[in-house]
């Protein structure tokens, strides 16, 4: 019985510990995280600078991270292996190309 409880706790801790949040606000910056998707190339583009494509830098072995100003709203997406990709973000908008963008708002 004890073993079962320990195993369950371990599983919860492991799953919870490994789950990377997709965004975290620290002070005036928001950190957007992207779990490793085995993509060969990963770029980030947002309305903050007219959708310039920025190569992502690795945060950990299994995730990418990018830091942006947290005081204003912006829309964004990733380009993984030349294909647009969005994580499971709360706020989304249609992109007029049959896909969606994520929307970051400071208050959400």
């Amino acid at each position: 019985m004890n073993r079962l409880v320990v195993s369950m706790l371990l599983a919860v801790w492991t799953l919870g510990g490994c789950a990377t949040p997709f965004q975290k606000i620290k002070g005036e910056r928001v950190y957007l995280y992207l779990k490793d998707t085995n993509a060969q190339t990963a770029f980030f583009a947002s309305s903050l600078d007219g959708f310039q494509c920025h190569p992502l830098t690795r945060h950990t072995k299994s995730s990418w991270r990018i830091s942006l100003p947290a005081n204003k709203e912006f829309t964004y997406f990733y380009i993984l292996d030349n294909q647009p990709f969005i994580p499971d973000c709360s706020y989304k908008e249609k992109d007029d190309f049959g896909f969606e963008n994520c929307v970051f708002t400071p208050d959400l």
Partner: protein, 314 residues
């Protein structure tokens, strides 16, 4: 008179080649005369030289057909002449190029964006004579539509608002309209079906919600949407509102009730700013934002093809 004319002509002859050089230098050598002239016209209509040349150059780099470049340029000129914001339409072009979409599709998407803003600003003008408020309303309506709301979903909200504002003092009208459209926008962005968005917002207006109550409704909806399906939540809100309940009313502490007080703390100000704003950012190894993005891959609208080392801004 003759002297003045002579001076004017000399000035024009002196200025034109300098101007021509700047535009010519900013565009690739083999750019057609028609496109160069159209770029000049864009600048004359009020689009900044940097924006006009950068967009044109990027479209050329992305191998746009000449007719699509001209269409895109003309659309931007039309937009500025209609007193509509140019950035969202221009950003749509850069977004499409970043996503490697075909040029014809990008021009269509620009047109959709322009139409959305035209509709939104027209509606904003119907609600208030205040130019600044018209801008805020126009942006929130257009962004709500960008999140999936359509004209048919906006019309009932407009009707309700027009009924309400007839009974209100002018200084309170703008704020109620703004909070209403921000609420509709937030719900649409959370993925609520347009019909349900319209239903909730209209019910709240029928219940004579104030701007602050509307803001509180949005806050409550935002926080509760983390715990349950936004569509289900919207239906619950609509049901509660139809029973005359308001946010913050005592006795509405049930988890499933719409509009509780207490959960809106720290969420007071949802900005009506356009998400299309360009923003600055600090330098840093993982930063991105205008001016502050480091790394070799910055290529505005240049797409991610070919990996890092895109064309860059200049």
């Amino acid at each position: 008179m003759k002297k003045t004319l002579l001076i004017l002509m000399t000035l024009m002859l002196w200025v034109c080649p300098v101007w021509a050089d700047e535009i010519d230098d900013a565009l690739p050598e083999d750019t057609s005369l028609q496109i160069i002239n159209n770029t000049r016209q864009m600048i004359q209509t009020g689009i900044s030289q940097d924006d006009a040349t950068q967009l044109t150059r990027t479209m050329l780099q992305n191998r746009f057909q000449a007719r699509h470049i001209l269409q895109a340029q003309n659309m931007l000129m039309e937009t500025i002449q209609s007193n509509l914001p140019v950035e969202p339409v221009m950003n749509k072009a850069f977004e499409g190029m970043a996503k490697n979409k075909p040029d014809g599709l990008i021009v269509q998407a620009m047109k959709k964006t322009q139409s959305r803003y035209a509709y939104a600003y027209r509606k904003a003008q119907e609600l208030t004579p205040d130019r600044e408020m018209q801008n805020s309303l126009g942006l929130s309506i257009a962004q709500g539509m960008g999140a999936g709301l359509q004209e048919k979903d906006m019309e009932p909200v407009m009707t309700q608002l027009q009924t309400r504002i007839r009974q209100m003092s002018q200084n309170k009208v703008g704020e109620l309209c703004l909070q209403t459209f921000l609420t509709a926008r937030a719900m649409a962005r959370l993925g609520v079906d347009p019909d349900n968005v319209s239903d909730v917002v209209c019910q709240a207006l029928q219940n004579r919600f104030t701007a602050m109550e509307m803001q509180q409704l949005r806050s409550n909806f935002n926080s509760r949407s983390q715990q349950m399906s936004p569509n289900q939540l919207a239906k619950q809100f609509a049901q509660k509102l139809s029973q005359g309940e308001k946010p913050g009313e005592s006795g509405s502490s049930n988890e499933n009730n719409a509009g509780q007080s207490g959960s809106s703390q720290g969420r007071a100000s949802e900005s009506g700013n356009a998400s299309e704003n360009m923003g600055g950012s600090e330098n840093g190894s993982d930063n991105a934002g205008s001016g502050g993005a480091d790394g070799a891959g910055g290529s505005k609208g240049g797409g991610a093809n070919g990996g890092a080392g895109g064309s860059g801004k200049k």
